[in-house]
Symmetry: C2
Subunit: 267 residues, 2 copies
DNA sequence: CGCAACGTTGAAATTCCTCAATTCACGTGG
DNA sequence: CCACGTGAATTGAGGAATTTCAACGTTGCG
């Protein structure tokens, strides 16, 4: 096991390319600060810098730890919540990968987002008190449950937490605006390039390779997220590969030229 | 002047169809509770039920009133804020109509939203402290300025305000998800139908006619918001008119059959 | 081993965009 | 008050991008 790292996310540690079904973690102390049977505290979690505790001091994190329930774990395909269900808790992803889906009255369904470790899920339910989307695990995942009522109470006591929570929600808004821009004004290959670069950036921020990773979602799910049909996604992947910009083999992606992938975005 | 109405929004009062350049207001006590030279307080504002004070008690609204600055007014075309500018304040729209625009590195611009009275603008800037979008008045508008630092302080003192603010941000997220669904999975005419029905609903919620209103934005701006070209928007309007679902004349819209417009959305 | 889900590829069909011409609405200045 | 100019809107024809339909290959799981 790697030595414990208290500095939050080790930005320059690059993981070996994850093999197809192998777990994702570059850092091995997610989940425990002493031994694997221990429940991790936010206090010692590697994701601390990315997650809810970011910017809190020692004492504040300890108080946050008192309300967080770390027991929730999901198998691939499990629902974390369903549209229409009551909001009980927000969830921070400790390990794994989720998607959220909205579904329209007429049955049309669309992936609203893909979520990875350190990210917070469930904020869309605050407005009405009910979830507006389904959240489904794309691989076995572990989650920290944050009971919302207690969280609001606590964030009242801890201004720093409240501010950070506002920032997280606001970032969710700007993220959505980015997707709107993508859906409204980009062509198929541009969309896919944006998607790949976004994944790359998020993996890198968690200490994984920015250029080699495994997709957790199908072509159809990618297409749904990007407003494209699965065949279009597949063709775009093939085209990128023929251009030598990436290597794709099923779910395994290698970005061979990050710069050129970025250039593809500007028409 | 109409008699003062303390019940928030008069949902069943329908306005005369606004003439082309006439002001929008169905309710005449927006802006004053005694005489027109007086500055309105949230306490007496007709929009109270839709805006930030919703759900606050008398005392809480009075405290909110102490930090709100009601002086900001914009002429058509004026910027409320620009992308990159520091977040100073959030703004509640008292009268008028705004659009927010994001612009991509390569110059592509997209309308992110249209905003009308009672709505809050500026939340996208909380994440980074800088505005991510431009906000531009589509007609002469008056705004309530809410200095953000003071607001966060106050919402710390008033849990009800904090909760309501969370709800407002969350609703912004679900609104954006709705737009993503629209952009990702609907065809041109469906998008326009959704757009018209959404406007209709929002006008109705403010006491105006759900079936007759004036657009404040150009075909190009509608298209930008919906991910379509202006010609496509124009053709869709014409098609709806030929079907007898709406009447369009330039900016003036009459929805002749709300039900049928709704049916157009399900393929 | 075989089935089922996933992925790739091709050809035809559709939707939307681009380009272009024309009309309309509105504000300005003669 | 009218003429004019400008920006906005409508409409048509042709073309480009994406979807649809279909066939086939691959992967992984029971």
């Amino acid at each position: 096991m790697d030595k414990e790292n208290k500095m939050g996310v080790p930005a320059h540690v690059h993981a070996v390319p994850p093999s197809d079904r192998a777990p994702l973690f570059a850092v091995t102390n997610v989940g425990s600060h002493t031994a694997s049977h221990c429940i991790t505290l936010c206090e010692t979690c590697v994701l601390r810098g990315l997650c809810l505790p970011a910017g809190l001091n020692q004492n504040e994190v300890e108080r946050l730890d008192t309300i967080v329930n770390r027991k929730r774990s999901l198998k691939r395909g499990d629902y974390l919540h369903r549209a229409g269900g009551e909001l009980q808790s927000l969830y921070a992803i400790r390990t794994g990968f989720l998607k959220t889906c909205m579904l329209h009255d007429d049955g049309r369904e669309q992936v609203a987002g893909f979520h990875m470790m350190g990210e917070l899920v469930g904020m869309d339910a605050i407005g009405s008190g009910k979830h507006v989307s389904d959240a489904i695990a794309l691989e076995d995942s572990e989650l920290c449950e944050i009971p919302f009522a207690e969280f609001e109470q606590l964030s009242h006591d801890l201004p720093a937490l409240q501010q950070h929570f506002h920032r997280i929600m606001s970032r969710e808004i700007t993220r959505d605006h980015g997707v709107m821009l993508l859906l409204g004004s980009m062509r198929a290959e541009e969309r896919l390039a944006v998607f790949l670069l976004n994944l790359s950036k998020r993996f890198a921020a968690r200490g994984y390779s920015a250029t080699q990773f495994n997709l957790r979602m199908t072509r159809e799910e990618i297409g749904s997220y990007l407003g494209l049909k699965l065949e279009t996604v597949s063709r775009a992947f093939s085209h990128f590969q023929n251009q030598g910009v990436i290597n794709v083999q099923n779910k395994s992606i290698e970005i061979k030229d990050l710069g050129r992938l970025g250039e593809l975005i500007n028409r």
